[in-house]
């Protein structure tokens, strides 16, 4: 129940319903998404979008953790031969 896709905020505007709407780029396409649930999201940020709403801002530092773990695994395995 969780199709949430990361995309980059390209531009932000207020629409005619006073909602905070952004153009978000996903790979090679852009689509609108509402930012009302992530008020601190700004142009250039990545957000996770679900049914037309951004539900979180992607934390780039935390995103790195998975790859840090992989590097650690390499080191451990190199040590243990």
């Amino acid at each position: 129940m969780c199709l949430g896709i990361p995309g980059e905020i390209i531009s932000i505007e207020e629409d005619d319903q006073q909602m905070r709407k952004a153009k978000v780029r996903f790979g090679g396409i852009t689509r609108d998404a509402y930012l009302d649930l992530v008020p601190d999201a700004a142009v250039g940020d990545y957000v996770i979008v679900h049914v037309g709403f951004a539900i979180s801002k992607v934390d780039a530092e935390k995103a790195q953790q998975t790859f840090d773990l992989l590097e650690e695994m390499d080191k451990d395995n190199a040590l243990s031969g």
Binding site: I5, G28, I29
Partner: protein, 347 residues
């Protein structure tokens, strides 16, 4: 336990035709195999290939038909007319035949702007020139407003099978290599990006185009073609599954090899669509004799439409009739036929 005893009406599970029956997946197959095939029963229809192969003395001909109901009728990269010409020409090419003559039957809805009709006709003329075919006979009918969705086009075509070429599921052998001539999903996504309810800024243009020149190039370079299939309705999955099923071989394809452009990937991700099921135009799969895959790709890449040609897998003796894909993380999963229409999902 027999939950569904025999019923004279073959599709009693669905008392009415559903959109899914036109999706190119299982329900479409079901319609064809339970109702059409047994009714029209004859050896030319039975193979259920893209076209029928007919012989007149020495000359082998391919004969094919297709109807075009695409909405909206005008889309980036083309229109219904262009699609109608290239689509049928390509069905003939998939029989290993040079497309020669097309018929064109129009069903027009009362109220269709004349300007649009003219654009479509001009487009068909240009497409016919590009494909090297002549539209030699036709028909037009008008139905009342509200009964026709603008314009429906049927084109039927005749082509001359190239000498020495025999393609069909019966020729596919384990070990054969599967080559894909171009990127996946472009046409289907171009259409989807326009449809009501989707506000995408995708600059994706339909890649509808005649593929015969690529087929001819393969033949001229001596590639032994066993099977040709264009992955239109139902996508790559339908094309591979039908081939696997009818030929009785299994197929193994590599996810990492599949050419999927960033726009197609983007749209598929956000709508929850699988690019394997998205309709294509302007590309095809060729099942070639073992050992010839690399050469086939080389030949295709010399052609402007084949620049992204790639070998995607091979026919295998295991799991006959089933298509398996090795995922990018080296697991394996079955690529099944879509049951109906692929629906965008939120989950």
């Amino acid at each position: 336990m027999n939950l569904f005893p025999d019923c004279p009406l073959p599709l009693s599970e669905y008392p009415r035709v559903l959109l899914a029956h036109g999706g190119g997946g299982r329900l479409t197959q079901s319609l064809i195999e339970k109702m059409l095939l047994p009714s029209f029963d004859n050896p030319f229809l039975a193979p259920l290939h893209d076209g029928a192969l007919l012989s007149f003395g020495e000359q082998r001909l391919a004969f094919s038909t297709d109807s075009y109901v695409v909405q909206p009728p005008f889309f980036p990269g083309g229109d219904i007319g262009r699609l109608a010409v290239f689509g049928t020409a390509n069905d003939l090419a998939m029989c290993g035949a040079r497309p020669l003559f097309l018929s064109c039957a129009l069903i027009l809805e009362e109220g269709l702007p004349m300007e649009e009709l003219w654009r479509i006709i001009v487009s068909m003329k240009e497409a016919a020139q590009e494909a090297g075919v002549q539209i030699v006979t036709g028909d037009s009918k008008v139905v009342e407003r509200g009964k026709g969705d603008g314009v429906f086009i049927n084109t039927s075509g005749i082509g001359a099978v190239l000498p020495g070429v025999e393609v069909g599921p019966q020729r596919v052998r384990p070990g054969d290599e599967i080559v894909l001539s171009g990127p996946l999903g472009v046409h289907g996504i171009a259409i989807m990006a326009l449809r009501e309810g989707l506000s995408l800024d995708a600059n994706v243009k339909s890649d509808s185009a005649p593929v015969f020149p690529m087929v001819r190039a393969l033949v001229e370079e001596g590639i032994e073609l066993h099977m040709l299939r264009d992955p239109t309705r139902g996508g790559l999955s339908a094309a591979l599954n039908e081939t696997a099923r009818k030929s009785g071989v299994g197929m193994l394809i590599e996810e990492e090899r599949l050419p999927i452009g960033p726009e197609v990937q983007g749209v598929c991700e956000i709508l929850g669509l699988d690019p394997l099921y998205v309709a294509n135009e302007g590309n095809f799969i060729a099942v070639v004799k073992e050992g010839q895959g690399e050469r086939a790709v080389e030949v295709l890449r010399r052609h402007p439409l084949g620049k992204e040609a790639v070998p995607i897998g091979r026919a295998v003796p295991e799991h006959p009739g089933t298509v398996v894909m090795r995922t990018r993380i080296r697991g394996e999963r079955i690529v099944d036929v879509m049951s109906g229409e692929q629906l965008p999902r939120i989950c």
